[in-house]
C-alpha cells in the first residue's frame, strides 16, 4: 500500500483521491457511533503499539516503509468487532484527537483498514513526527487508548 502524503506533485493526487474514496466508503459505519459516543472497547493495560521502523530521531529517505508492532493485542480489519483487536492508524505531523471520537480520515491520519502492519509513506524533505494509534472496528481509540510515543524523523 502506497500513500502520497501532502505532496505537490500531481501524480500523487490520483493516489490521494483513491484513498479519500476508500475512506469515504468506511465513513457510514463510523457515523452512528460518532453521534452517540458508544462505550469504547476495552484494551489490556499492557497493550503497546510501537514502531519497528523507523525509530525516534532516525534519518530516513523520502519514501520509506513504516513497520508496526503490537504487543498483547491482535490486528483485525476495520469493521470487524472482536475483543482484543484493532487496526492501526499512522498519525503524521498531527496530534491525536479526543479519544472518544473516531479518528479522522485525512492526509495526516492514515487508516490501515485492511489490517496492514506496514505502510509505505512518501514525505517531503524535512522534519516530521509520526505516531501510532490503534482504533477499534469503528475507528475509535480503545479504553485506555493504545498509542505509541510520538517520534521524530528527518527526511533527507
Amino acid at each position: 500500500m502506497t500513500i502520497g502524503t501532502r505532496l505537490p506533485a500531481s501524480r500523487h493526487h490520483a493516489k490521494a483521491a483513491t484513498l479519500l474514496l476508500l475512506l469515504a466508503a468506511l465513513a457510514p459505519t463510523a457515523a452512528p457511533v460518532f453521534a452517540q459516543t458508544s462505550p469504547r472497547q476495552p484494551a489490556p493495560r499492557n497493550a503497546i503499539v510501537y514502531f519497528h521502523y523507523p525509530l525516534d530521531g532516525l534519518r530516513v529517505p523520502e519514501r520509506f516503509t513504516v513497520r508496526i508492532g503490537l504487543k498483547e493485542m491482535g490486528v483485525a480489519p476495520a469493521g470487524i468487532d472482536k475483543p482484543g483487536t484493532g487496526h492501526h492508524h499512522l498519525l503524521i505531523d498531527t496530534d491525536p484527537g479526543p479519544p472518544d471520537q473516531p479518528i479522522p480520515s485525512d492526509y495526516n491520519n492514515i487508516h490501515l483498514g485492511n489490517g496492514q502492519t506496514e505502510v509505505v509513506v512518501t514525505l517531503p524533505k524535512g522534519t516530521h513526527t509520526l505516531q501510532l494509534l490503534l482504533g477499534d472496528h469503528t475507528h475509535t481509540p480503545h479504553q485506555p487508548p493504545v498509542m505509541s510515543q510520538k517520534i521524530t524523523v528527518y527526511v533527507r
Partner: protein, 418 residues
Amino acid sequence: MRGLRLHLIVGVTAVFAATASIGFAQERARPRSPAPAGAKLTFVDLQNNARIASKTTIRFAVSGMEIAPAGTVRRNAGHHHLLIDTELPPLGQPIPSDFNHLHFGGGQSEAEILLSPGRHTLQLLFADHDHVPHDPPVISEKIIVEVMAAPEEKPRTAAAPNAKVFFPGLQDGAVIPPRSLVRFGQENIAIAPAGTRQDNAGHHHLLVDTELPPLDREIPSDFNHLHFGRGQTETELTLPPGEHTLQLLFADHEHVPHDPPVMSQKIRVRVQAASVTAPAAAAPPPARAASGRTPAPNDASVYFIYPRDGTRIFATSTIRFGLRNMGVAPAGVVRPNTGHHHLLVDVATPPLDVAIPSDLNHIHLGNGQTERKITLPPGEHTLQLILGDDQHVPHDPPIMSERITIYVGAPAKRRPRR
C-alpha cells in the same frame, strides 16, 4: 548472463562513484573515531589468489577491536565493509553504499556474495557508527580471487523414488489460448519454498521451449526456466501463437534438481491466436483460485522481523512477524487479502491444501497477533511463518517465510553452514 549483469552494474556504479566523489569534495570532512594501533582486519580461510566459486560465503575477522552495529557509538568498535573491485574510498567521509562497497551494519561477520567469472579484488575496511573509517584506518590487505567459469556442481537432495510432477488437466498436444492458467501437480513429494531445506521437498520450475538443463547444478533463471520459489502451484502463462513445449522440473532449496530427478513429461501445446478463444479466456476471475484455496496477491510475503536466520536468542523470546502487501485479520474473518499468522516451531512445512494443524509445534495466532512470546529448550530450533485464511488454510500462492534456524543457550561450536 550474470557476468554480463555484474559488468553492467560495475559500469554504472563507476559513473556514480565519479559523481559521488565530486559531491564528497564539497561535503565537509567528518570527525573520525580513533582506532588502537594493533587493530587488524583479515579474511578468514581466504588466501590471496584463491580460486572460489561464483557464489561464496566470505568471512571476516577483526582483532583488537569490537563489532558494533552501525549507529551504535562505542569506543574501539565498528562494523565491516567489503570493497569489491574498487580502490579505497576517501577516508574522511562515510563509505559509499553500492555494489562495490557492501555494508554490514548489522554487525555481520560473514556474507554470501555473487561474483562473475574472472579476477576480482576484495578488501575489508572497518568503519565507525557513522560509516566513517577510523583514524588510523583499519584495513585488510587487498586480495585477488579468481572465480571459475562453470557453475559449481552442487550436492543433490534425495527424492522419493515414486515422487512425480505433472500438469493436471493439460495433455500433450492440447490447444490453449495465448494467456492461460497452467497448474502444477506433485505426488509423494512436498512443497517447500526456495531456501528452506527439507527432505523430499522442493519447488516447481517450468521449462518453456527448452531442453533439460544439467541436473547436477542450479536451474538457470530466465524466460525459459521459470522458478516458483514461493511454492506456487499454478501460473498464468502468456505465449505467442504457435507450437511450444512445456516441462516441469522439481528442485530443492538451492534450485538443484533432486536425485533421482523429479520431472514431468515434456508436453507439446499449440497456442491458438487470440480471436478464436477470446470469449472463453475473458471469463471473470474466480473468487477462489483454481486450487480451491483463497487467492493471495502475488507480491505478498511474510517474514521474521525478529529473530533473523542463524542468530542466537534467549530461551524466552518474543518472535515478531512482518507482513508485506497484505493485512492481518483474526481467524474466521473473510476479507480479501487478509489472513492470520501461524508460527511453526521445529516442524516441516505442512501440506498446503488443508488447514494448518493446531498443536504445540503449529502455533495459531488466531486473534490477529503479530508477535508471540515463546520459550524454547536450549539447542538448535527452526521457525517458519505461514499465513492462513479464515479457515487456517494457506493461500494460493502460499504466503510463507523461509524456514530459519536459531540457537538457544550458550554458544556451541560453529556448525558448517549449509
